[in-house]
């Protein structure tokens, strides 16, 4: 592992997590959460956990985002905080 890449990905992960809970539009929050999952997948591939990275790329960035978008489109997009 290279600690520079590790630190950069960790910084981006924290920024994405902070953006996910501050954005008021719920659809944008779901998309940013997909980006967060994919950065997490990169982090685990870089730590040597290849199976967990594969699982996160298929489940976290794929199916989970689709489920969130499907549920948000059937309810409301607005959020007060």
């Amino acid at each position: 592992m290279i600690w520079g890449i590790d630190l950069l990905i960790l910084l981006l992960v924290v920024i994405c997590a902070f953006a996910t809970i501050t954005i008021k539009d719920l659809l944008s929050a779901a998309i940013v959460f997909g980006v967060y999952s994919f950065l997490m997948c990169l982090l685990w591939a870089e730590m040597g956990a290849v199976d967990v990275a594969f699982m996160e790329a298929t489940v976290g960035a794929g199916v989970s985002t689709i489920l969130f978008i499907g549920a948000i489109l059937h309810t409301s997009r607005r959020s007060k905080d």
Partner: protein, 159 residues
């Protein structure tokens, strides 16, 4: 050109012919890759969970690109439920078969008495049988979650 537009308007597909043609070409390769991930899980990253999710994602892709009815005709709901039950039953059935053959629960090396291949090879092959069961169950549950959540409960129209 006019004829093509007329055909698109009167066909039973949705609005974009580019997306639908792309998905029709891509889906068999995605399913082939899912089967490869399940079968080749002994030697590379992969296994039952990942391959099952990829197989389910191919049906989810049909439901996103075409309309919702098409994904229900490609994979019947009753077939989906039968596949999910079959996947869970394969896992517990293999485990119970080990117990019935006189060994411990989930000890695959006892199955050597049934078909003599060698005890260590049976441990490898038992892992493969279990992964197939896990893959079927995960595929069925992922497609079922997509159908129910993205249509709001009444399987009429989706995203």
């Amino acid at each position: 050109m006019k004829l093509l537009q007329e055909r698109i308007k009167h066909s039973k597909f949705g609005e974009s012919i580019i997306i639908e043609t792309t998905i029709r070409i891509m889906v068999p390769f995605i399913q082939l890759f899912g089967l490869y991930v399940i079968v080749h899980g002994h030697y590379s990253p992969g296994g039952g969970f990942q391959g099952g999710v990829i197989l389910g994602a191919s049906f989810i892709l049909i439901g996103l690109g075409y309309d919702f009815k098409t994904s229900l005709t490609r994979m019947k709901e009753k077939t989906n439920i039968i596949l999910g039950n079959l996947g869970a039953l394969i896992f517990t059935g293999v485990a119970l078969l080990c117990a019935l053959m006189g060994g411990l629960f989930l000890d695959y090396s006892v199955l050597d008495k049934l078909i003599p291949l060698g005890a260590i090879e049976w441990r490898s092959f038992g892992i493969f049988l279990v992964e197939v069961g896990v893959g079927l169950a995960v595929m069925s549950i992922m497609v079922s979650l997509f159908w129910d959540i993205c249509s709001g409960g009444d399987l009429d129209e989706g995203l």
